[in-house]
Every structure is written in structure tokens, then in C-alpha cells.
């Protein structure tokens, strides 16, 4: 009736402070600035897959992936696998076993699982046991990319209503916990509401008297309007306690609303189909109800010989039934046809006499009870006894007389039947006698009479025929008309039922659209609140600026690169031109010197020198070029060496050898055991 929502924490549950920290699903380790993140939790996987499994905290002193131990890596990978593919991950244990071969097997199966998921990089059991930072980083990045999106998106999407409510509750509780407790006398009104003990009051509703007229058409009676104007208290002053005003109002409203709704439902579901006006439907329903109740009461009023109350209650009920039936015809039409008014009808209006009598009796007993009670009691007892005796005698006599009456009525019925039969046979006999009398009268002049009779018969036959033809003439159009009307009628029926269906459809549609609208409105409100809750200070500006900066940097770098490239090209060009110049110069010099060399011996010598010089210079250039390429190769190789050194291949190899040895030892030990066994 009265609705309210209170969020309280019952006393038997211990109050715990609300933790605002929600476990993040994505481990922060794998983000860009992973070296700096302090707290890492692998809670996402652990919670979803296996509630009983204890989650592992990354120790405080581990600052980067480089410092991850093998155990940590294995556990991280297994938990991720469990979230990504539960059947695959559940077969793997998150703890590293002690035996070498078991470790090897776990590592191999982990590597296999990762490859099944589509990991492209190099992976083997050594990746887990003897980790290198870049490998582990790329593996974990890959796994985190593979984590199911749905759970990650859950935090981005508009949270459900319940989540919002819980958030609001937690915020409220936190706020209330933050307030200090204040003694009752010092409380401000705000604190009174949250810190007072127990409920603020019991909500109880009372009937209200409201000035609204039921029959809208009729002008209100003068006395009624006088009452409304002069004596009716305002609604807030009517209940005895001020606290029950809202409860009473809400109750009244709910009552009216439910009555209207019920009527609407009933009218739409059943009333429309009867094709009656609302008043007609109500009166029919009332008649049906009355009949039902009457039947029920009649059945209950049948005297039961074995029950002690039977003979006493019988006459009372019979009397009531009588008055009930009498009032049926004079029942007033009430404006509302709901359950409430129906119960009211059958409980009161239809039996006013009886109940009024009972009330009068009760009322007359009340004042007298204040007089000398003992005398009255004794007197009443005596009277009661006498009356009961009398009642018993009377009822016995009634039963006797009833039996006699039954017998008599049965014999009366028999006699009347006989009488009817006799009358019938009498009539038959009279008819036959009349016919016979007429024939006897006609007998003396038989021939004439016969002829007369024949003509009579013929004429009557003719008349019959003519009448029949006339009838046919009349009948045909009438039948036609009848058919037409029938058709029209059925057409109308069809039409009306079609329209009824349409109306029903429309009602359904209206309801559906109303529901939909309500739902959408709710969603809209939720989204609005969420939008308001979103932090406003994160601006696009900063992001765009950063992006622009980065783009500018890239452009600068590109310019530099093109500059260097053009430098290189220029250099190349210069080199080419110089080489060409050199060649040409050499050719010219060579020719000049060669011409002179034929004439002069010393010039020949200089030509030889020139040739040698040229050759040496070419060799020199060649050597310089070779040195450059070698230098480049050296640099490449050095880089390669560095990367290989990063992979710790040697130590890994040593470790693998050791592992191999350990496995062999274990194997031999196992074999020895087998042999012993």
C-alpha cells in the first residue's frame, strides 16, 4: 500500500568499509610504462576461472618484466590461457612442478597452447624456464591482446541498472561512514535522518473523505455541497497522526487506480466481446453474481441433521435469501463495476434489510448492557432457554408439516395429470361424435349430397391450388428478402468481429509502444546520468596537440632524411664527375705523353711512371672502398653478435645441456626403480 525504499544495513551483518578499488582485468604490467607500475594483479583470470584458487600478488621489489621469475611467468601465462580458452587452460597447472621432466613437459604444453592460439614468435619450453625479457614481453602482449573483449568492454559500456544502484549505495554508505557520530542532542536535521535509531514511524493508512462527485451529470445535493464547503477538513488534517497523511493519500490513490485499471482490463478482455454497453455489461455481471451467491447461500442453508448449527442457521439464512431475492429487482446502479464495488454490492446493498436488522439488534443491545448486568444476564438466559425450546418444537412441527405438504403436492400433481388426460380423451370423443352425427344427417338424400360434396371438394381443391400459387408469388420475394437480410447480417457480423480484432490489436500495440517508450526513456535517463558522471576534463585538445607534435617531429625527421639523402646523392655525383674528370685527364695526358714518348727517351720513362701512378691510385681507391664495405659488414656482425648475446644462447645451451643431463638422470633413476620393482 505505502511504498518506500530504504537502504539500511541490518544489525546482524557486520559493517565493512566499502573498498573503492576495483580489480582491473588487464594487468598493468604490459602497458607501455610497465617499468614504473607498482601494483600488478592477475586477478582477472583467477576470479573468473576458479574462485577457490588463490591469486598471486607480484612482489613489491619486482619492477619490470626482466625480474619475473619462472614461476611468475608460468602462472601469468596459465591464467591468461584459462581466461582465453577455459578447456585448454584448465588442463594446465599454474605452479611450476619440482621435477625437471615435469617442468619440461609443462613448458612444452604451454608453448604448444600458445602456438595453437596463433603466436607467431619463437617459443619453446626454454622460453618459460629461462626467460629473456623481449620474448616474455612479446608473449604476454600477445596473450593480453587475445583476452576476451566482452569483459573488457563491460567497463566501457553503460553499466546495468543494478550496477548503478550499487554504486550509488556504496557512495551513500561511504559518505555516511565518513560523517562522525554525533550525540542525539547535537544533531542537525540532516544527521537526524541518517543517524536516528530505528524507523521514523509506522505507516498506517486511514480512509479519507474527498469531495468528488460520483455522478458527474447530476448537480450535487445542497447538503453535500454545504458539508464540503463548511465542515470537511483539509486532507492533511483528516488522519489522526500527521505521519499517516502520505500513506493515506497513496493508499487512496492506489485504490482508485487499481479499480480503474482492473475495470479497463476486464472491459478490454471480456467486456468488448459481449458487444454490450458498459452499463449493460455491468448489470449482466451483477445479475450473474447475485445468482451465484444466491445458489451458494441456498446450498449452505440446506439443513444438515448432523451439524448442531444447521437447524438454527437455516431459517435465518432462508430469510436472508428471501430478502436478497426481493432486493434484486430494486438494486441501484452503481457507477463503478470493479471487484470492490461488487463485493460491496453483494455484502451490503443487496441485503440492506437483513443487515440493518442485525445492526439494529446489535445497537439496541449496546446501551442496555450498561444497566444491571447480572439480572439481565439471568433473564436473558432464561429467555434464551425458553426460546430455544420453542424453536425446537416449532422446527419439529415444521418438518412434519413439510413432509405432509410434500406428499400432498405429489398427489395433487398426479391428479392434475389424470385430469388433463381425461379432458384430452373427452375432446377427441366429442369430435368423432360430431362427425358421425353429420354423416347420419346426410344419409337420407345420399346421391344429391354426394354430388354436392364432390363439387365442394373440387372447388376447395381449386381454391387450394390458387391459394398455393398466390402464396408462391408472395413467398418468393419474401424469401429473397430474407436471404438478402441474412447475408447483410452475417456481413455485418463479420465486419464487427473484424473491427473488434482491430481494436484488440490496437490496444496491444498501444500497450507495447507504451512499454517500449518507457524502456527507452529509462535507457536515455541512464545514459544521461552516465554521461554526466563522465570526467569532463579529458579534452580532445591535448590529444590532438600531442598527435600534431608527433606529426611535426616525423616531418622534421623526414626532412633531415631527405637532406642526408640529397647530400649523399650530391657526393655520389661529385665522385662520379671527379672520376670522369680524372679519366678524361688521364686519357689526354696519356695521349700527350705517349706522343712525346715516341720521340724522347726521358718522356717514355715519365709515361711509365704515369701509368704506374694511375694503377696505384686505382688500387688505392679500390682498397678504400673495400675497407668501407668491410667496416659496414663489421658493424652488421657486431649488431648480430649483440642480439645473439642478448639471447644468452650460450648459457641457455649450457642450461639445456644441464636439463638434458637431469632428465637422463631422472630417467635412469626411474629405470632403476622399475628394474628393482
Amino acid at each position: 500500500m505505502f511504498k518506500k525504499v530504504a537502504c539500511t544495513v541490518p544489525g546482524n551483518h557486520r559493517h565493512l568499509p566499502y573498498s573503492a578499488a576495483f580489480p582491473t582485468l588487464r594487468p598493468a604490467v604490459l602497458t607501455e610504462n610497465s617499468e614504473q607500475t607498482q601494483e600488478r594483479r592477475w586477478t582477472g583470470g583467477g576470479e573468473e576461472v576458479d574462485g577457490g584458487c588463490k591469486e598471486r600478488e607480484v612482489a613489491e621489489d619486482v619492477d619490470s618484466v626482466k625480474q619475473f621469475s619462472s614461476e611468475l611467468i608460468v602462472e601469468a601465462v596459465v591464467r591468461c590461457l584459462r581466461v582465453i580458452d577455459p578447456p585448454l587452460g584448465n588442463g594446465l597447472s599454474p605452479t611450476l612442478p619440482p621435477g625437471m621432466s615435469a617442468r619440461f613437459r609443462l613448458g612444452m604444453s604451454l608453448a604448444q597452447a600458445c602456438q595453437d592460439l596463433g603466436y607467431k614468435g619463437e617459443i619453446g619450453y626454454q622460453t618459460f624456464l629461462y626467460s629473456s625479457e623481449p620474448e616474455i614481453r612479446s608473449l604476454l602482449m600477445f596473450l593480453v591482446e587475445k583476452l576476451p573483449r566482452a569483459s573488457a568492454e563491460a567497463s566501457d559500456q553503460p553499466a546495468g541498472k543494478s550496477a548503478l544502484l550499487q554504486k550509488a549505495i556504496s557512495a551513500q554508505v561511504r559518505a555516511q561512514l565518513a560523517l562522525p557520530w554525533v550525540p542525539p542532542t547535537c544533531r542537525l536535521p540532516l544527521l537526524c535522518r541518517t543517524q536516528s535509531t530505528g524507523m521514523s514511524g509506522i505507516f498506517r493508512s486511514q480512509a479519507l473523505s474527498l469531495p468528488y462527485s460520483k455522478g458527474l451529470g447530476k448537480p450535487p445535493v445542497k447538503e453535500v455541497s454545504d458539508y464540503y464547503r463548511d465542515f470537511l477538513l483539509p486532507v492533511t488534517a483528516q488522519p489522526s497522526q500527521y505521519a499517516s497523511v502520505p500513506a493515506s493519500l497513496l493508499e487512496r490513490h492506489a485504490l482508485d487506480l487499481s479499480a480503474a485499471q482492473e475495470w479497463e482490463n476486464e472491459w478490454n478482455s471480456q467486456g468488448l466481446l459481449t458487444r454490450l454497453s458498459p452499463e449493460g455489461y455491468r448489470s449482466r455481471k451483477r445479475a450473474r453474481l447475485q445468482k451465484r451467491i444466491e445458489e451458494q447461500l441456498r446450498a449452505a442453508a440446506q439443513p444438515h441433521p448432523n451439524s448442531p448449527h444447521g437447524p438454527h442457521s437455516g431459517p435465518d439464512l432462508a430469510e436472508m435469501l428471501h430478502s436478497f431475492g426481493g432486493a434484486t429487482t430494486g438494486g441501484t446502479v452503481l457507477a463503478k463495476g470493479t471487484r470492490f464495488t461488487h463485493t460491496e454490492k453483494f455484502t451490503f446493498t443487496q441485503e440492506p434489510e437483513t443487515s440493518a436488522q442485525q445492526m439494529a439488534a446489535a445497537a439496541s443491545v449496546m446501551p442496555s448492557s450498561r444497566q444491571s448486568e447480572e439480572d439481565l444476564l439471568a433473564q436473558q438466559q432464561d429467555e434464551l432457554q425458553a426460546l430455544q425450546d420453542q424453536l425446537k418444537q416449532l422446527s419439529i412441527r415444521m418438518e412434519e408439516v413439510g413432509g405432509d405438504m410434500k406428499q400432498l403436492s405429489v398427489s395433487i400433481a398426479q391428479v392434475s395429470d389424470e385430469l388433463k388426460q381425461r379432458e384430452l380423451s373427452n375432446g377427441e370423443k366429442e369430435d368423432s361424435v360430431r362427425v358421425k352425427k353429420q354423416t347420419i344427417d346426410l344419409l337420407p338424400d345420399a346421391e344429391n349430397n354426394l354430388a354436392k360434396l364432390q363439387t365442394l371438394v373440387e372447388s376447395s381443391a381449386k381454391r387450394v391450388i390458387s391459394l398455393a400459387s398466390q402464396w408462391e408469388k408472395h413467398r418468393a420475394p419474401l424469401i429473397e428478402e430474407c436471404r438478402r437480410l441474412k447475408e447483410l447480417c452475417s456481413n455485418r457480423e463479420l465486419e464487427s468481429s473484424r473491427k473488434l480484432f482491430e481494436i484488440k490489436d490496437l490496444h496491444d500495440k498501444i500497450r507495447q509502444s507504451a512499454d517500449e517508450a518507457k524502456k527507452k526513456e529509462g535507457l536515455y535517463k541512464q545514459l544521461i546520468t552516465e554521461f554526466e558522471n563522465l570526467p569532463k576534463d579529458v579534452s580532445r585538445c591535448a590529444y590532438t596537440q600531442r598527435i600534431l607534435e608527433i606529426v611535426g617531429n616525423i616531418r622534421k625527421q623526414k626532412e633531415e632524411i631527405t637532406k642526408i639523402l640529397s647530400d649523399t646523392k650530391e657526393l655520389q655525383k661529385e665522385i662520379n664527375s671527379l672520376t670522369g674528370k680524372l679519366d678524361r685527364t688521364f686519357a689526354v695526358t696519356d695521349e700527350l705523353v705517349f706522343k712525346d714518348a715516341k720521340k724522347d727517351e726521358s718522356v717514355r720513362k715519365s709515361y711509365k711512371y704515369l701509368a704506374a701512378l694511375h694503377e696505384n691510385c686505382t688500387q688505392l681507391i679500390q682498397t678504400i672502398e673495400d675497407t668501407g664495405t668491410i667496416m659496414r659488414e663489421i658493424r652488421d656482425l657486431e649488431e648480430q653478435i649483440e642480439t645473439e648475446n642478448g639471447k644468452k644462447t650460450v648459457s641457455n645451451l649450457e642450461r639445456i645441456l644441464e636439463d638434458y643431463k637431469a632428465i637422463r638422470q631422472e630417467n635412469s633413476a626411474l629405470a632403476a626403480k622399475v628394474r628393482e620393482a
Binding site: M1, F2, K3, K4, V5, A6, C7, T8, V9, P10, N12, H13, R14, H15, L16, Y18, Q166, I169, S170, V173, M199, I202, F203, R204, S205, Q206, A207, S209, K214, V221, E223, V224, D226, Y227, D230, F231, P239, S240, A247, K285, L289, R292, R339, H342, T343, E344, T347, F348, P352, E353, S355, A356, M359, A360, A363, S364, M366, P367, S368, R370
Partner: protein, 183 residues
């Protein structure tokens, strides 16, 4: 009826006719289930016993007059001995409040069964945590029913969780279905 009017005549005439209508309307309020008038507002006019008798007789007069559907003439006839001012006041009050009194009588007749639900109230409580579980988030409904049993108001309090509430609602719906079938 005679007896009642006799008492009424004696007592009601102690009140000045101008105050009569207001007093009568408060008496009818009492019949309709709200607060009856208080003696301390009229303390000078009557003693306690007189007050009780007056209230009783007036209430039963209104009940009978509405219950038996007295016509105006019948009412006037039964109040023939009363002063004209008081009689008119009673008549006007009766005419104005007939429907409400009838409603009140219907309520009384409705409440013939031994126990009747008079009113109910509910509160939703969200248990955030318990001494064993840190995050419980269990919704509890505390339902208080006012049951009138043999004329005595008896409070009944229940605490239900979701399933128990569903069971309660289901059984109430089944009962409602039976009532609907009766219609």
C-alpha cells in the same frame, strides 16, 4: 430506536444549535473509521458517562438510518421530540454523509471473517556484507502486516529474501485467480 432518541434528546440539547453540525460531522467521521470527537473539546457540556452514551446513541442512530435507508420523513418522525434546530442539523448531516456512512458499513460487513488484513507496509533492505562474507549484496524485504483478529489489531512482521517473496506472491496470485473465477 425510541430508547436511543430519548437519550439523544436529553443530551444533545445541551449543545448550542450553532455548534451542532460540526459535532455531528465529527461523530460521523468516527463511524467512517476516523477519529471521533474528543471529550475535552466539549468538556463543559457533558460528563464522561453522558458523553459515552451520546456518542453510542448517535453512532448507532446514523448506522441504522443509513442501513435501513430511512426516508427523510421517517427520520423526522423518529426525531420528532427533538428541538427543530438539532433535528435539522441531524437531517442535513445525514443527507450529506449518507454515502460515506454506507461505505463505512460496507467495510464493516466486509470484515466479517475472523482475521482480516487491515494494512501493510514494506521496506527493502540491502545487506551489503555479513560477519562472514565481505560482499553479500543480498536484497531483503521486511514486510509488516496489520491483521485484525477478533477485533484486535495484531502486527505480523516477516523478513523475506527473493525466493521466499516469490513464493508468497505466487500463492497470493493463486488466491486472486480463485477470486477471479468466482466472478
Amino acid at each position: 430506536m425510541e430508547n436511543l432518541t430519548g437519550i439523544m434528546i436529553k443530551l444533545l440539547e445541551k449543545l448550542p444549535p450553532s455548534e451542532c453540525p460540526k459535532f455531528l460531522h465529527r461523530v460521523v467521521d468516527g463511524v467512517c473509521g476516523r477519529d471521533p470527537p474528543r471529550l475535552r473539546d466539549y468538556g463543559n457540556a457533558w460528563s464522561l458517562t453522558e458523553w459515552m452514551e451520546l456518542l453510542d446513541s448517535l453512532s448507532s442512530f446514523f448506522r441504522i438510518a443509513v442501513g435501513k435507508k430511512y426516508s427523510d420523513d421517517e427520520v423526522e418522525e423518529s426525531l420528532a421530540d427533538l428541538g427543530s434546530g438539532q433535528r435539522d442539523a441531524i437531517l442535513a448531516c445525514l443527507k450529506a454523509r449518507k454515502e460515506e456512512v454506507r461505505q463505512g458499513l460496507v467495510e464493516r460487513t466486509n470484515g466479517v471473517s475472523s482475521a482480516q488484513l487491515q494494512d501493510f507496509d514494506w521496506q527493502i533492505k540491502l545487506a551489503l556484507s555479513s560477519d562472514k562474507i565481505s560482499s553479500l549484496q543480498m536484497v531483503l524485504l521486511s514486510l509488516s502486516l496489520d491483521v485484525k483478529q477478533d477485533g484486535v489489531l495484531k502486527p505480523v512482521s516477516l523478513e523475506l529474501n527473493r525466493e521466499e517473496l516469490q513464493t508468497l506472491i505466487n500463492s497470493l496470485e493463486a488466491a486472486n485467480k480463485v477470486v477471479l473465477q468466482l466472478k
